[in-house]
């Protein structure tokens, strides 16, 4: 190979690898969706995953959401001080939290907590030949492993986002009453002002998409995990990095679609 061919070959390899990876991600998603008719037979497994992904994440989200709401409200009050009426602090906090902060922060926290756990679990099962054992026993891994987790992700991430929104708004209210000398009534009427149901629904739609992203990337990196503890460690790191990037990119794309 001559010197000028090297960069062309490298670019070609990256392109082929990228297309192949996207193809594998789409395959994971489609093979999981294909198992939807078995949802009613896997209720036990689905509930178990919902508890692991959803209920167990609430304590962490409680802390992050309350403080995010507090910070957002303090910043809104600081930026608007002497410029607009106090009630607009509630308006700004509500808009910020419902449209962006709630869905994005919930998704990023869950990518770190449950996305990495999913990759580690699947990677470890692959390492210990458990995935082969499912196949050998004539059991479809997508039905018994992927489907329950997928359903849990696409239902729990939106639910947790709504909970996170509520907690963040409560955080904002606490800081208004205790530190900013803004009454509950002012904060509440400010929240109602300019509120549109689409603000809430946009966040829920976004979080649904984020749930799909975290699941697909978590499962993919689990299947691709290398051997040993290092392989699983690298897989968990990859899932957090790729999920965070994809969540931010998808957020931009969804914002452009939902609010055009």
């Amino acid at each position: 190979m001559t010197w000028w061919q090297h960069p062309i070959v490298s670019v070609g390899r990256i392109l082929v690898s990228g297309i192949s990876n996207v193809g594998e991600l789409v395959c994971i998603l489609l093979r999981t969706i294909k198992c939807f008719p078995y949802i009613h037979k896997n209720i036990g497994l689905i509930v178990k995953q919902m508890v692991a992904i959803g209920v167990s994440s609430i304590p962490l989200l409680f802390v992050t959401s309350i403080f995010t709401g507090m910070v957002a409200t303090v910043q809104a009050e600081f930026q608007f001080r002497d410029l607009v009426a106090d009630k607009f602090v509630g308006t700004a906090a509500c808009k910020m939290i419902l449209i962006e902060l709630g869905p994005i922060l919930t998704a990023l926290v869950l990518a770190g907590r449950v996305g990495s756990a999913l990759a580690a679990e699947i990677g470890s099962m692959r390492e210990k030949e458990e995935l082969d054992a499912y196949t050998v026993l004539g059991l479809d891994t997508y039905r018994y492993l992927a489907l329950p987790r997928f359903i849990a992700f696409i239902t729990m991430v939106p639910c947790l986002t709504v909970i996170s929104n509520c907690l963040a708004l409560i955080g904002g209210w606490i800081v208004c009453v205790l530190a900013l000398d803004i009454t509950s009534y002012t904060y509440y009427t400010g929240m109602q002002y300019l509120f549109q149901p689409m603000d809430l629904w946009a966040g829920v739609i976004k979080s649904f998409v984020f749930g799909v992203i975290i699941f697909v990337l978590g499962y993919y990196h689990g299947l691709k995990a290398g051997a040993g503890a290092r392989g699983v460690g690298v897989a968990t790191m990859n899932v957090v990095v790729s999920s965070c990037l994809m969540i931010l990119i998808a957020d931009f794309a969804l914002a452009a679609v939902l609010f055009k």
């Binding site: 210990k128 030949e129 458990e130 082969d132 054992a133 050998v136 026993l137 004539g138 059991l139």
Partner: protein
């Protein structure tokens, strides 16, 4: 050695011209082997020689680059063969580390596939099969509530065997069944392999480099060397072979010895 009547013309698993490459590494070059119905075939060879790769081809976990794998007359190595579920239900596999489902207890591990494949069975019938299978592997029914993490290496393999036979397979594949076990526990596993053949009449393929185990359970032994089966024979034939590579392996010599030596 087992005492089961085997028809030499009744081939259960047929491998022809099997070739498999991983990256730049040629693992299998040209593997040809017939495994007869009801016999226990032991495949021996050095670690990393591709014994487990052969086993995974037999059950359809891997597809060959070239060559043919036929199970009970059905070619499973062609991309046109999609009915892997049917063929796999004829087969059970004991993985090297057991591969028990960590999130389920012992009873659930055995019952899980049974419930899914036989929804017509009542819970009482499923539990009866679990108890019978635990008895077959010499474990008391109380073991059903133990989690895999609470079991020793030998027990994990026995439970994995109970899980493998839950669907009444015709073929059992054993991937290094005695690796990592003490000699006494290894002998317990060897006896179980013999029991499976005599009580259930299964065709068994055992991959191992434990020659004590190989000589005890085998009807025939095949030696894999550098991607090819270089010798197939009964236990006595293998013990008395002139092939220097087989002699080196079964006697555990670092260097090849010949008659002249």
């Amino acid at each position: 050695m087992p005492n089961v009547k085997i028809n030499p013309d009744d081939v259960m698993i047929k491998l022809r011209g099997l070739k498999k490459t991983f990256g730049s590494q040629d693992v299998l070059l040209d593997v040809n082997l017939d495994i007869r119905r009801g016999e226990t075939m032991v495949i021996i060879g050095q670690s990393g020689s591709g014994k487990s790769v052969i086993l995974k081809h037999m059950i359809g976990l891997l597809q060959p680059d070239e060559g043919e794998v036929a199970v009970d007359g059905i070619t499973i190595s062609t991309p046109k063969f999609f009915d892997t579920r049917t063929i796999r239900r004829k087969m059970g596999m004991l993985f090297q580390m057991g591969a028990l489902f960590d999130s389920m207890d012992t009873g659930e591990n055995i019952a899980f596939a049974l419930r899914e494949h036989h929804p017509e069975l009542t819970e009482a019938q499923v539990q009866k099969v679990v108890t019978e299978n635990l008895k077959l592997i010499n474990l008391v029914p109380e073991f059903r509530v133990k989690m895999p993490s609470e079991l020793s290496g030998g027990m994990r393999k026995r439970v994995a065997l109970a899980r493998a036979i839950a669907l009444s397979p015709e073929i059992l594949l054993y991937d290094e069944p005695t690796t990592g076990l003490d000699p006494i526990t290894s002998d317990v596993i060897n006896d179980l392999i013999l029991d499976m053949q005599s009580k259930l009449g299964v065709t068994s393929v055992v991959v191992t480099h434990d020659m004590v185990s190989a000589f005890k359970v085998a009807d025939r032994i095949a030696m894999l060397y550098k991607g090819r089966i270089i010798e197939v024979g009964t236990v006595d034939e293998i013990k008395n072979t002139e092939n220097p590579f087989v002699r080196q392996f079964i006697t555990g010599q670092r260097k090849i010895t010949t008659e002249e030596d």
